[in-house]
């Protein structure tokens, strides 16, 4: 039986979400419109029961520093710890890895001419922990094993949207040639539009975000018409995290998809926040 890609979960990963969960602010007027996006996803996951999550995200200076900054890095660790990020978030629980599937992905990607970095040790930050806290609130251990794929969104040159979509498609080909029967969830985290730094701090772009949300499922190539720099101009300097969504969409394969859930809310912290769940039609 072949590995089965059961769906794609896309979400913002704003650190402030973690603070809101610690305080129990989910039902307050500021946070409720955002948190309302997640019960449908939790319900879907409870029924779909994925075994493995392949997660595209960006590190925020927990695991990678500027001494060595890979463009694409694939985790191949038996487990992945979170750690203190320096700004007061709780330290989240660890994920169990799936080294055999990680190495299969790595072999397949490099044969496919994606010369990625491999990591047998990798800390994962809020960009992975918060998306799972949102959809599996209160669980003692994560019900999914993790394969993290980190995309550099910190230091230019960033990979182009086109390259990220191609990486995702190569991950899809790798998953298709995996012999296991795992139920696989693909995730892309970050965004949507936001800018934390400089005189344009606080910038968002609802038009661009809507364009991305409208096209990601049916026409992901529409998101590859911009360079990474143009995405930063459109989406804000941290809005380039949409690259993680684009790669994750590629990993779902070029098949018709159904939108199970979609939510878009402004603002969460300094960010236009969104969640989206897609499944094969």
């Amino acid at each position: 039986m072949m590995a089965n890609i059961i769906g794609g979960y896309f979400t913002s990963h704003v650190p402030g979400i973690g603070g809101a969960m610690v305080r129990g602010d989910q039902e307050t007027p500021y946070w409720k419109p955002f948190f309302d996006g997640y019960p449908p996803i939790s319900k879907w996951l409870a029924e779909a029961k994925p075994d493995v999550a392949v997660v595209f995200s960006n590190d925020h200076g927990l695991n990678f520093f500027l001494d060595k900054m890979p463009t694409f890095a694939v985790g191949a660790a038996p487990s992945y710890d979170n750690a203190d990020e320096g700004w007061g978030l709780p330290v989240y629980k660890s994920f169990t890895g799936h080294p055999a599937l990680s190495w299969h992905l790595i072999d397949s990607l490099v044969r496919d001419e994606f010369d990625i970095t491999t990591c047998q040790q990798m800390l994962v930050d809020h960009a992975i922990s918060i998306p799972f806290e949102l959809v599996y609130p209160g669980v003692e251990t994560w019900p999914v094993k993790l394969i993290p794929i980190a995309i550099n969104t910190v230091q230019y040159p960033l990979p182009s949207p086109k390259r990220c979509l191609a990486l995702g498609r190569a991950v899809h080909r790798a998953l298709q040639s995996w012999g296991g029967d795992e139920r696989i969830l693909v995730c892309g985290t970050g965004g949507l539009s936001h800018q934390l730094d400089g005189p344009r701090a606080g910038f968002m772009n609802p038009d661009y975000d809507t364009f991305c949300l409208d096209n990601l499922a049916a026409n992901p190539d529409a998101l590859t018409g911009h360079t990474a720099e143009q995405v930063a101009e459109l989406a804000g300097t941290q809005g380039v995290e949409i690259l993680n969504w684009i790669a994750a969409r590629g990993a779902m394969g070029d098949i018709p998809l159904t939108q199970v859930s979609r939510n878009y809310h402004i603002p969460i912290s300094n960010t236009a926040a969104a969640s989206l769940l897609l499944e094969p039609a």
Partner: protein
Amino acid sequence: MTPESVNADNAIRRAIPLFDGGLATRGYALNAMCFSFNEKANRDAFLADEEGYCARFHLTPEQRKAVADRNVLAMLDAGGNVYYLAKLAGIFGLGVQDLGALQTGMSVDEFKAMLLTWADKIPHQENA
């Protein structure tokens, strides 16, 4: 990729500005210090002896002044990257909205009110 498209991308890098090799080179010492603040012991050491801690990381005079002045725009100009600077801000209990206010010259309340106004620009709401 044409010479024209490379020039256009480089123009965007300078205009925003974006954190590329030039800024990453200029900011290395400052960002290295901020990266160290992932560990509580290092945050405590900075608070106990800011001058000595900055010296350990060989901050440039420009970077040292920006940190001493708590001047975020000057830290960015000195090559600081916001993902790392956020860890320094955390030491002072400052969040991203405080940083936004400091960088735009608004009060924190004005900055938060500005963030809310972006909701008026959502083309259409689709909540499944």
